[in-house]
């Protein structure tokens, strides 16, 4: 019953075919099988958000997704997001605002923040906080992170005028 499952999917725009164990979650698949170490496995039960990646355009908990279930899916990780420059402005704002979290949490936080830019271009501070609530630990107050997201949203709205 621990037979391997064959899957073919797109990861950061590249076609990938592998044979995976059923117990492999998406994060271990990305890190151990594909060498993409930007996504992290923190709690591995859905509470920390360090594993946030995009599947078929929507953010998910990578630790709560079986790699075996992803045949035909499209996955984007922090590496792909960075290479595409989709959120270069957001990443610059994180640096400018000193919106730091630890290295373990930061990629997931950027993935969740990128989701706000995509789906909620007019989000208020309150809505930004709410959207990032799945990525909170106890380390910071998140003011600088909310600042960075808010500024990026404002700049993008300006540019669109």
């Amino acid at each position: 019953m621990s037979a391997r499952i064959d899957i073919t999917l797109m990861v950061n725009g590249e076609r990938v075919s592998r044979s995976v164990e059923a117990r492999r979650h998406l994060i271990d698949f990305l890190r151990l099988d594909l060498g993409l170490t930007g996504s992290h496995a923190g709690c591995e039960h859905g509470v920390c958000g360090a594993c946030t990646v995009r599947v078929d355009g929507e953010i998910v908990r990578g630790c709560l997704v079986l790699a075996a279930s992803l045949d035909g899916a499209e996955v984007t990780t922090i590496e792909g997001l960075t290479d595409s420059a989709e959120v270069a402005d957001l990443q610059d704002a994180f640096v400018a605002c000193n919106a730091a979290q630890c290295g373990f949490c930061s990629p997931g936080m950027v993935m969740a923040a990128a989701d706000i830019l995509r789906h909620h271009p007019t989000a208020t501070r309150e809505e930004i906080r709410e959207h990032l609530s799945g990525n909170y630990c106890r380390c910071t107050g998140y003011q600088a992170i909310v600042d960075a997201v808010e500024q990026t949203l404002a700049t993008r709205r300006e540019d669109r005028r």
């Binding site: 591995e44 039960h45 045949d71 609530s133």
Partner: protein, 291 residues
């Protein structure tokens, strides 16, 4: 913790699912969104030998209205509930509930069928479907069966589903222009399971009189708790401060909350009274509020 060694199979039709279930029997467990099941696997709280992925079964998908009844497929994700126009129109309570469930990334995968089947006593959707007087459509190789939501939740993490049955859909009766509904909860942090919550639905006629009220609490019992006496205290009365106070008082007999990690029973009783006021007071007429 890592998941235990386990098998995986994907069903693309109900017939294929029945075949896989017959082959693997009790060793198999359905996998929908995985947002509860895979977390419990990580804790080694459950020990299935093989997961049967149902997410590609088209018959379990879709949201439609027929003869005034809203049918929501079991695979409908929480995020979809929150943004679907038919849900917003015919079951606004569910649209209002969606943002209270976990976090965006979890709502993008978790399904209504999984939430109802798991029957967590602190979960929003079981309480909502009871408040809405919904019907759970169960399906098995023997055919379809309809279970009123009120009879579906039978105990702590227990439902009326037979071992070979699955949830195919939820059916929600039509709303009237006089229907009002609300869900509110108290949680320690945004996205956490509620310490206590209330899903309420009632009708309010032109005189402000309440009919068919259903107050369903979650996080205060072994499943959703329909507060029958609090409902009776409102039924037929003009909704005013006195009626709300009567409903709050009646909760003493409706609720018998267990102590849990959040606090003792008396704290839950207190929260239930607070929630009752918060849910109903926006429905008071302006003249009442000014008092």
């Amino acid at each position: 913790m890592k998941w235990p060694a386990i098998g995986y199979a994907r069903a693309t039709s109900l017939d294929e699912l029945w075949r896989l279930q017959a082959e693997h029997g009790a060793a198999a467990q359905l996998l929908a969104g995985g947002q509860t099941l895979l977390a419990t696997l990580a804790f080694r709280l459950s020990d299935p030998k093989i997961l049967l992925d149902i997410t590609r079964i088209a018959a379990l998908r879709g949201i439609a209205v027929q003869d005034g009844v809203l049918r929501i497929g079991a695979l409908t994700r929480h995020a979809e509930l929150g943004r679907d126009p038919l849900v917003a129109q015919h079951a606004p309570l569910l649209a209002e509930a969606a943002p209270l469930i976990a976090h965006p990334a979890i709502r993008n995968r978790g399904t209504i069928g999984g939430s109802l089947a798991y029957a967590d006593p602190a979960a929003e959707l079981p309480a909502c479907v009871v408040a809405l007087g919904a019907t759970i459509v169960a399906v098995s190789p023997r055919g379809e069966r309809r279970v009123p939501a009120e009879a579906f939740f039978t105990g702590l993490l227990q439902t009326a589903l037979a071992p070979d049955e699955i949830i195919a859909a939820v059916e929600i009766p039509g709303t009237q222009p006089t229907t009002r509904s609300r869900i509110i909860e108290v949680a320690r942090r945004s996205g956490d399971y509620a310490m206590a919550g209330l899903a309420a639905r009632l009708s309010l006629n032109a005189e402000g009189r309440v009919t068919s009220p259903r107050l369903v609490f979650f996080g205060v019992g072994s499943g959703p708790v329909l507060a029958a006496r609090a409902g009776a205290a409102l039924d037929g009365w003009v909704l005013d401060s006195a009626a709300i106070a009567a409903a709050q008082a009646a909760l003493a007999e409706d609720l018998d909350p267990p102590a849990d990690m959040h606090g003792p029973p008396e704290m839950k009783r207190h929260l239930a009274r607070v929630l009752t006021f918060r849910a109903l007071s926006p429905l008071l007429r302006a003249s009442e509020v000014a008092e």
